[in-house]
Structure formats: C-alpha cells, structure tokens
C-alpha cells in the first residue's frame, strides 16, 4: 500500500492530473448552468400550462401535455432519462455537453414547474383578480404581477434545485461526459487507487456547493431588502 503522500502525488500531481479534475469541474459547471437555464424556462412554461384551465374548468391540450411531462419526468430515474437522450433521442449527436444539458434541463424543468406552482399558489389570488378586473389578460397579469412575486417567494427552493442539479450531473459520466466524477474515475482506473481521487472530487463538489449557497444567500437578502412586503 502506498503512503498517503504518494497516493496524493499519483492522484493529483503526477502527469498534471489535477488538470483533469479542473476540466471535469468545468464541464460539470457548464452542464449545470445550461440545464438550470433550460430548466427555469421549461419549468415556468410547464407550470403555467399545467395550471391553465379552459372556460369549462377542464384542462386544455397544452395543460394535459404539461401535466404528463411533469408526471413522467418526476416518476422515472434521471439516469434512464439521460440514457434515453444519449442513445435514442440524440443518438446522432456526439456533443456530450449538449446532450447532458438537454437531459438534465428537461429533468430539472419538471421539478422547477412544481416549485413555481408552489410560489404562484403562495401569491394572494386577489392579485390576479385585481389584474383581471382592470382588463389585463391572465398572461399579462402573471408576467407583471404574479410571477415576480412567485419567483421571489420560491427563490430559496429554486436555488436549492440548482444545487441538486449540480450534484446530479455526477451521473453524466455514464454517457462518457468528462465531468468531475468521471475525471476522478479516470484517475482511479489509471492508478488503481480510489480514495484520493474520490475525496478530491468530493471536496471540490462541496466547495462549489458552499460557494453557491453563499452567493444565493446574498442574492436572497438583496431581494428581501429591495422589498416590498
């Protein structure tokens, strides 16, 4: 068995291996960013359609589609969704960042939709009624009045979802994307030693999560100050 310092040397220093982790972390952050943005847009749309009802009080076609999307995504493993995206839907693409971003973005959208629904439901229904009573449409009132308040109400949950997303991308190695976990895997296979590479990856994930929480915390306080109520 190697000494700890020798393990450390092999895991991080030899052959400039630390670069692998840094590049891996770069891919992790890239996928997280794209997926979070896609998830926010998809999630908002899915939520609005999901909550929409026709004049008769029944779901519209768009609403039914949104419901099925949210239901299916939340009811199946992310890994399966990722493999379907890579091997079936986007089988023609070799762009792993793109495929992973799509898979995780579509996945995250379903959860974001539910978070935003909670945010919207926490807004006083009188806000929508006041907007409608002035002749504004549902969409105009949502956009200008309800959603800004809803986003603010569910901001902590949304940021939590981004952090969850970051950690979830750790399975993207399954389609060969060289993200952080995959990088530590590669080093392990090259050195036949697991502890240091995994520990290294864990420390980096943890550091990024802590940094993100810190920044989100500042943002949240800014939002509270800029306030309102």
């Amino acid at each position: 068995m190697d000494s700890l310092s020798s393990q450390f040397y092999k895991a991080f220093v030899k052959n400039n291996r630390w670069m692998l982790y840094i590049k891996g972390l770069g891919s992790t952050l890239e996928v997280t960013l794209f997926a979070a943005l896609l998830g926010l847009v998809l999630g908002t749309l899915a939520c609005l359609f999901n909550m929409k009802r026709g004049r008769s009080g029944k779901r519209t076609v768009g609403s039914a589609i949104a419901y099925v999307y949210i239901d299916v995504i939340r009811g199946t493993p992310t890994m399966i969704q990722l493999l379907i995206m890579w091997n079936v839907i986007m089988a023609a693409s070799k762009n792993k960042i793109l495929v992973a971003s799509l898979a995780f973005g579509i996945n995250s959208g379903a959860y974001v939709a539910e978070i935003i629904r909670g945010g919207i439901q926490s807004v006083d229904p009188g806000q929508m009624e006041a907007g409608r009573s002035l002749g504004l449409t549902r969409i105009q009132t949502l956009k200008n009045v309800v959603l800004p308040q809803a986003f603010k109400n569910c901001f902590p949950s949304l940021m939590n979802e981004v952090i969850t997303l970051l950690k979830e991308t750790s399975i993207a190695g399954a389609v060969g994307l060289a993200e952080l976990t995959h990088a530590s895997d590669m080093v392990s296979s090259a050195t036949y030693q697991y502890m240091m590479p995994l520990l290294g990856a864990a420390v980096m994930y943890f550091a990024v999560v802590k940094l993100m929480s810190f920044l989100f915390g500042i943002l949240e306080n800014k939002l509270k100050e800029s306030d309102m109520r």
Partner: protein, 247 residues
C-alpha cells in the same frame, strides 16, 4: 317614447357553487349615473353578484349586459368589458411588487390605451385629488389601509370606467380610516359616476344611494329609495337585518 336603455341589465342571474345555489334569479337594471347600494346578511351572495357582473365569477345562468354587450356571452371579449368596469376590493389588492405609480399605470400602458407619459400624468392628477401624490414612488406595504384603498380607487379611475363596483371597500379598514375612503367615494358619486356598492356603512347608503337593495336567499327581496328603505322596511328579514346593523 322609448325609455333610454339601462347601462347594466341583469336578467334572471343564477350562480351555483356545486349544490350551493347562491344566486337564484336576480333581475335588475342600473341606469347611467345611478348609485346602487347592496346590503344583506353575510354569505347571501353580495360579492358573488358583483363578481358576476365583471365575470370574475361565471354565472350559471341568466344574462348580464353592459350597454349592448352581453358580458357573459362566451364570444364577448371580457377584457374589453372589464376595461369599462372598475372594481374595488375589500382587501385593496394593490400589486405588492409595484410602486404606487406602476400600480396605477400598468393596465392602461400594457393595454395600449395610453403611453407611459400620458398615463403617469393622469395618475398624478388623480393622486392629487386623493392627496397622495407624494406616495407615487412608494410601495403598497408602506402605506396605511386607508391610503391603499384610496389608491385602489385611483387605479380603477385611471381606466376611465363607466361604472365602478365596490365590494365592502371599508370593511378591512381601521375605524379611523373609513371616513377618508367614504369621502372619496362620495365625491365620485357627486361627479356622476355609476356605482354599485356593497357596504355596511348605512350612513353612506342614506346619503349617496339612489336605491338600496336587500339581497337574501338568492334574490332581491326589497328595493327602495334609502329614506323609505330604512324608515319602512317591509320584508321581515330586512327588518330583522336592519335592527341588527342599525343598533
């Protein structure tokens, strides 16, 4: 000679919530410039009646007309109708995320009725009338209930409505703020606005209303000019109701 057509005509209006038959055939016509006060026990359907007029509730049956537009016809553009009918709510419902100025100008600007400058100028004029011009940049949460309700009235007036619906506009206010809101409403009435008001402020009803309606068990039980309505109520349930609210 043909009588001039009423501004608002309500024909056999019915509204059910499930098995709860709240409105059971309301018939009424409101002439332009009239001030109508609705009274009745809690839960009798006063709010539902008002909300059916601008389709915040969709009637189960019957017809509501504004001029020659049937409000509850599915083919009617309800947003156009609502631009002509202001509504003031018990809990003000000012937009929490917007300044007072933006609260007032949002609808006319987004609906393309005025450009931003016109809307702001008109808003300032209206705010001056209710002595709140200095609050244009404030957020609703920083204002008292009485101020918020006066601004809610201004927000409706900004749209140049032909009729204003008030749903217990002073019920959520501390007693010392009721007067300032009623003053604004009285002034509005004197200027000739058509108004439908749900309120427990009987003094206001006496002073301002052309007609007072007593709603109970889903229909209009009694309708009269205020003097007669309060002095000689005929319906026993109205007598009972008045004895409670006037004591």
């Amino acid at each position: 000679m043909a009588e001039e057509q009423a501004l608002i005509r309500v024909k056999d209006l019915r509204k059910d919530f499930g098995s709860n038959h709240v409105l059971r055939g309301i018939n009424y016509e409101i002439q332009k410039g009239q001030k109508i006060v609705l009274v009745g026990p809690s839960g009798c359907g006063k709010s539902t009646f008002l909300r059916c007029m601008n389709l915040l509730e969709v009637p189960t049956g019957g017809e509501v007309w504004l001029d020659d537009v049937q409000v509850n016809d599915p083919k009617t553009d309800i947003n156009k109708v609502r631009q002509r009918m202001g509504m003031v709510f018990q809990h003000f419902n000012l937009f929490h995320n917007l300044t007072i100025m933006d609260n007032i100008t949002l609808a006319p600007v987004k609906l393309g009725l005025m450009n931003r400058e016109e809307a702001q100028e008109k808003a300032l004029q209206l705010l001056r009338r209710v002595n709140l011009a200095d609050k244009a940049d404030a957020y609703p949460h920083s204002l008292s209930g009485g101020m918020q309700q006066r601004i809610a009235i201004v927000r409706s007036l900004e749209m140049n409505p032909e009729v204003m619906l008030f749903d217990e506009p002073t019920s959520a206010l501390d007693p010392e703020m009721v007067g300032e809101v009623l003053d604004v409403m009285t002034e509005l009435a004197e200027e000739g606005m058509t108004m439908v008001v749900v309120t427990h402020e009987m003094a206001f009803a006496r002073q301002v209303a052309n007609k007072v309606l007593f709603i109970d068990q889903g229909v209009i039980q009694e309708e009269n000019a205020p003097e007669e309505f309060f002095a000689h109520p005929k319906n026993p349930r109205l007598q009972d109701f008045l004895s409670k609210v006037l004591k």
